[in-house]
């Protein structure tokens, strides 16, 4: 008996001893690499944004908030903000609405449902760069699929050079992004829809609730947390998209599709103005961090409610 007691105490002791250093060892590789590859460049970018970097003479001078003043008073920046807001509006609404529509469809029982569910994943499985290419084929003025379709249907008799028009260029770059993001949104919403207990609907039917009432008080209420997350994901994409737009238009025609991320690329890699590039990055980072903070707060709220 004494030895059993002793063994237990020993085990307890070891558990205690375990807990002290093990988590730090387990975390070390992740934290060290995140520090080197993400946090230290982040600190450098913040420092750059307050500096003027002369690459030719290899000289860095501290200029305070001059870069930010220059940025906020430049026409180009506000143009990028305007373009980006329009772009984000499409990238937020289209995937959310069409995604909800597809999710509601794919939770129904019908022949072809499993084909539909599999196909739904396809756009999400494609790299952004391929999404941009696909939509290049859709909107091309010489052999584009959309022109071909409209022509075949007899709706136009001359191919339209969509991407030469500023408004169409913005709409189609945003639609390309929305296309892939719709699948992502629908996948999340469908997963949430599948967890609704069937007896909720039965009970509501017994209580005499109509189709509309059932949708509003059961389906929509159940989906609300997921919808919030989907919206936030779409907002973040609306501000961080680069690849698909870059391959489609490189920001053009003119500055019609110059998102903030494209402006960032121009400052950094075309003008080699690292200070201004860093200032743009920080503004963009603050926008997405703001969205991210809301995100994390929501997650923690849901934790305390469900856990």
């Amino acid at each position: 008996m004494a030895s059993a007691e002793l063994g237990k105490a020993k085990a307890q002791q070891r558990k205690h001893w375990d807990r002290k250093w093990i988590p730090y060892v387990l975390l070390a590789p992740a934290l060290i690499t995140i520090f080197v590859i993400i946090l230290s460049p982040l600190a450098t970018t913040i420092f750059y944004s307050f500096s003027n970097i002369d690459l030719i003479r290899d000289r860095t001078t501290f200029v305070g908030i001059d870069n930010y003043i220059e940025l906020f008073s430049s026409r180009l920046f506000w143009k990028a903000v305007e373009v980006n807001l329009k772009f984000a509006a499409i990238v937020v609404t289209v995937p959310t609405l069409i995604g909800l529509f597809f999710a509601l469809l794919l939770v129904e029982n019908f022949m072809g449902r499993s084909i539909g569910r599999t196909l739904l994943i396809l756009p999400w499985a494609l790299p952004w760069i391929v999404v941009g290419l696909l939509w290049n084929w859709v909107v091309n003025a010489q052999f584009g699929a959309l022109n071909g379709l409209l022509y075949t249907l007899g709706l136009i008799d001359k191919y339209i050079p969509f991407m030469a028009n500023e408004d169409w260029a913005l709409v189609f770059t945003a639609l390309a992004s929305a296309w892939r993001q719709t699948s992502f949104s629908a996948i999340l919403l469908l997963a949430a829809l599948q967890t609704i207990p069937e007896d909720l609907y039965d009970a509501a039917k017994v209580d005499g609730a109509g189709v509309r009432a059932r949708f509003r008080f059961i389906t929509f209420a159940w989906l609300r947390p997921t919808l919030t997350i989907v919206l936030l994901y779409n907002v973040v994409l609306g501000f961080l998209q680069f690849d698909a737009v870059w391959i489609m238009t490189q920001g053009g025609p003119g500055d019609a599709t110059m998102l903030i991320s494209v402006l960032l690329y121009r400052y950094t890699f075309i003008n080699f103005d690292l200070g201004m590039g860093a200032a743009v990055s920080n503004v963009l980072g603050l926008i997405t961090m703001g969205v991210g903070l809301i995100f994390v707060r929501l997650i923690y709220r849901s934790h305390t409610t469900y856990a």
Binding site: Y24, L134, L274, G292
Partner: protein
């Protein structure tokens, strides 16, 4: 009787609406993809046809052959480097990078997630939130300092630069999903194993890991797809060593071989698409665990 008539009418309307919606889904997803596929099986002179041939009149695998053999065999011995000669090496590089990222990510991210899930240590909550927040940083904005760091480490224009960068940028998502996953696994069995004298490692290997397999698969598949698809770092940190930036470079040629490009695109998306279809269930579950339940 009138009631059953109304009900059957209702059912018919519902069916019609459902199939109309299904058609919309097929068109929305299928139209752009279908057009790329038919372009890849067309001869170049068929491309500009007006109206387009929605079914290629003379389907050919010529474009695929050009991409796979790098056009050398077609043009004969004189031109040693065809237009697409870099494609197959790039696909192999992409495969190597993606598989390496899956493993490094699972090992580093898995152990960190386990630490967050099972241990209470100082600052654990703050550190966890900090890790999650790095996910929303615009990767674009870190490129210049990152380039300088990787140049100091002599990794520029190597696959290791990509493996390292991808692993770390995917880590927050991995840690997040796996932590949630570990949290749902009962602790009692593990505690029992510990009391019975098992070490932490034994308890993890024999109790936790087998139960966490679905979560590990989901995360592995997601990191494979992210690594396969990444464009911007591959463009700036290497000289188009992997598939996405190479594809972009073909798009920017003065004379674009659109049919060849369509074939190259199709070949290059086969791995992520196959993986997504095969692991569909795990993916959907992983995505919703990570995104919804958070």
């Amino acid at each position: 009787m009138s009631r059953s008539y109304r009900e059957s009418q209702h059912a018919i309307v519902r069916k019609l609406v459902t199939y109309f919606a299904f058609f919309c889904l097929l068109f929305w997803v299928g139209f752009p993809v279908y057009y790329m596929l038919i372009t890849s099986f067309m001869d170049s002179h068929e491309l500009g046809a007006k109206p387009p041939n929605w079914i290629p009149s003379q389907p050919t695998i010529k474009n695929y052959r050009e991409v796979v053999v790098g056009e050398t065999a077609i043009r004969g011995a004189h031109s040693s480097h065809g237009e697409f000669s870099r494609m197959m090496p790039a696909l192999l590089n992409s495969a190597f990078v993606s598989v390496a990222v899956v493993f490094s990510n699972l090992i580093i991210g898995g152990s960190a997630a386990y630490a967050f899930s099972r241990f209470d240590f100082r600052l654990s909550r703050i550190v966890y939130l900090g890790v999650l927040m790095t996910r929303v940083l615009p990767a674009l904005s870190l490129i210049v300092p990152l380039f300088i760091i990787l140049r100091k480490l002599a990794l520029i224009n190597t696959l290791w630069a990509l493996i390292l960068t991808y692993t770390i940028f995917i880590l927050p998502l991995t840690i997040w999903i796996l932590r949630e996953y570990f949290d749902t696994l009962a602790r009692d069995i593990e505690e029992m194993a510990l009391i019975d004298g098992a070490t932490r490692w034994q308890a993890f290997r024999m109790v936790v890991a087998p139960l966490a397999v679905p979560g590990l698969i989901a995360v592995g598949v997601m990191s494979f797809m992210e690594a396969w698809s990444e464009f911007f770092f591959a463009l700036t940190l290497t000289n188009s060593l992997t598939y996405p930036p190479l594809l972009m470079s073909y798009r920017n040629l003065a004379q674009v071989n659109w049919n060849g490009l369509a074939a190259a695109t199709t070949i290059g998306v086969l791995p992520p698409v196959t993986v997504a279809f095969v692991f569909q269930r795990y993916l959907v579950r992983g995505l919703s665990e990570g995104a919804v339940k958070g």
